[in-house]
């Protein structure tokens, strides 16, 4: 997860999340797991009073083509609409983050690595 800085366990069922926000700022919140079905579903909700108000779930479903992973996420950005607008400009909008993260998750699970060209040789006139 490229956009997450850290996740730590606070106590059973409660975790602390630190994500990269707009303009190099960190966004932090605590979340509680509210539903869990082994191999099929994890659902969570942020604790009251968190900087970010969020709820979501990850669903796993077996299909003839493989495992379908579906993420649902609701959130209110820290600085309201302005925050989301800034975030969108910086490519840090949650829909984009989740799409990118899901692709990297699929790449890692299916191939054992995430493809990259960062740092490869390139001509000097760029």
């Amino acid at each position: 997860m490229n956009h997450l800085r850290a996740v730590s366990q606070r106590e059973a069922g409660i975790s602390h999340w630190v994500a990269r926000g707009p303009a190099g700022m960190n966004v932090e919140w605590d979340a509680r797991i509210i539903n869990e079905i082994d191999g099929r579903l994890i659902a969570w909700q942020s604790l009251e009073g968190s900087e970010v108000s969020t709820a979501g779930s990850v669903n796993f479903r077996e299909t003839p083509r493989g495992t379908e992973v579906r993420v649902h996420l609701q959130y209110s950005p820290p600085a309201g609409r302005l925050g989301a607008a800034v975030a969108r400009l910086l490519g840090e909008e949650p829909t984009v983050q989740i799409h990118d993260d899901l692709r990297r998750f699929k790449q890692l699970i299916e191939t054992g690595e995430i493809p990259t060209t960062k740092g490869q040789p390139v001509g000097g006139r760029r």
Binding site: E110, T111, G112, P115, T117, G119, P121, R125, R126
Partner: protein, 389 residues
């Protein structure tokens, strides 16, 4: 190391760049012994492929010796002599598992670009634009090869570089083009374009049992090379191709037509000048003379097979002719990995010696000049092999 770099349209250079290094566990580094210029590299030179960046290292037809190995690669050893498929494929996704290697779902680090343009993430190629992955190519002294546990293919020492190098792209591409024609005994196959891919398509059509192959081009030495494989030939500038094909097939038309020309077709017809004007004005991206003619000429119920590269939009496609004749269209990048064992057997059996296509052998430093010679079809140029070391 030295590498061939794209610095802009019509601006190919040889530069000193850093050596490549292992970046992922499934990578290897190959010391390149031979690398070729592909007809599709000319589309890059001519600025027809979007998302190139200045400094990009070119080249997707290369082979050499494994000199460094990532920790997850157990099937290769230092010193192995390998050819490397031009398509980069992870080997594990739905598409790779079903032999659609060229449309691998995972290999492209810049999948989001092609998702915007084509609706789905494109596969990845060496040295062929950022939309196609942005991987540095193999027209260089060394190259990093990702997913090396499924891509590189060991080749026997008794075969020369020139006999096996074209397993990387153009031999499988010509072969898949012919295979897509579902050739049955008695079939006549028409091939537009007698460049390297067309030459391999002609020979593959015969390998797969075609009765006749009719080759269409405007360059005499390329038609001569086609004739040497047993093809009958038509001059696209001076013959009425449609009329001649119909007459030669007793009015029936060719059973299948192969467009081995692609997006930068030249032609004698009005539609060529129409495309030329539209692409110059950026109202269209590709020139499509060959595929239009192939659709028009194909017999009823026949197959139009398209190994020629297209990148964007074409218009004036004779959809009515295609529909009324009930044609099948088959196209796309080559699933190189799928054909390697089969085609190596053909080479070892002596059914075909792919080195026939090579007309020019030069040191890597000569790449800028050889790109021009190849593009302008000067000096009888059909295929250029570059030697980096």
């Amino acid at each position: 190391m030295k590498a061939v770099c794209w610095e802009g349209t019509d601006n190919i250079t040889v530069e000193r760049v850093p050596d490549p290094a292992i970046m992922n566990p499934r990578d290897v580094i190959v010391r390149v012994s031979s690398t070729a210029i592909c007809g599709s590299d000319l589309h890059l030179m001519d600025g027809f492929i979007p998302t190139m960046k200045a400094g990009d290292i070119l080249g997707h037809e290369f082979m050499g010796e494994v000199v460094d190995i990532g920790r997850s690669v157990s099937n290769l050893r230092k010193g192995d002599r390998v050819i490397v498929p031009c398509a980069i494929a992870c080997g594990h996704c739905y598409f790779c598992r079903n032999e659609m290697w060229a449309v691998c779902d995972n290999a492209n680090p810049h999948a989001a670009i092609s998702e915007k343009v084509y609706g789905y993430p494109a596969g990845a190629l060496f040295g062929y634009s950022h939309m196609m992955g942005g991987y540095a190519g193999g027209q260089a002294e060394f190259v990093r090869v990702p997913y090396a546990d499924v891509g590189p293919f060991k080749v026997p020492d008794h075969l020369s570089d020139e006999q096996v190098l074209f397993l990387t792209d153009i031999f499988p591409t010509g072969y898949m083009a012919a295979e897509n024609c579902n050739i049955r005994p008695g079939d006549t196959i028409a091939v537009w374009g007698c460049g390297p891919v067309g030459q391999f398509a002609i020979r593959s059509a015969f390998l797969l049992g075609a009765w006749r192959v009719i080759a269409i081009d405007a360059v005499p030495e390329r038609l001569q090379m086609a004739a040497e494989a047993g093809a009958e030939t038509l001059d696209s500038m001076n013959d009425d191709v449609f009329d001649r094909l119909k007459t030669m097939t007793g009015g029936l038309g060719p059973d299948a037509c192969i467009d081995a020309v692609g997006m930068e077709a030249h032609g004698a017809h009005i539609d060529y000048w129409y495309d030329k004007a539209k692409t110059a004005l950026r109202l269209a991206t590709d020139r499509a003379t060959a595929v239009r003619q192939a659709i028009h000429c194909c017999r009823k119920g026949g197959i139009v097979s398209i190994p020629g590269v297209y990148g964007g939009f074409i218009d004036k496609v004779p959809m009515g002719a295609a529909f009324s004749k009930g044609l099948t269209l088959k196209l796309g990048q080559t699933h190189v990995h799928k054909y390697l064992s089969r085609l190596l057997r053909h080479i070892e059996n002596g059914d075909i010696d792919p080195s026939f296509v090579v007309t020019h052998r030069e040191p890597l430093e000569q790449a800028p000049r050889m790109y021009r010679t190849f593009r302008d079809k000067q000096d009888g140029c059909v295929k250029v092999v570059l030697k980096p070391h």
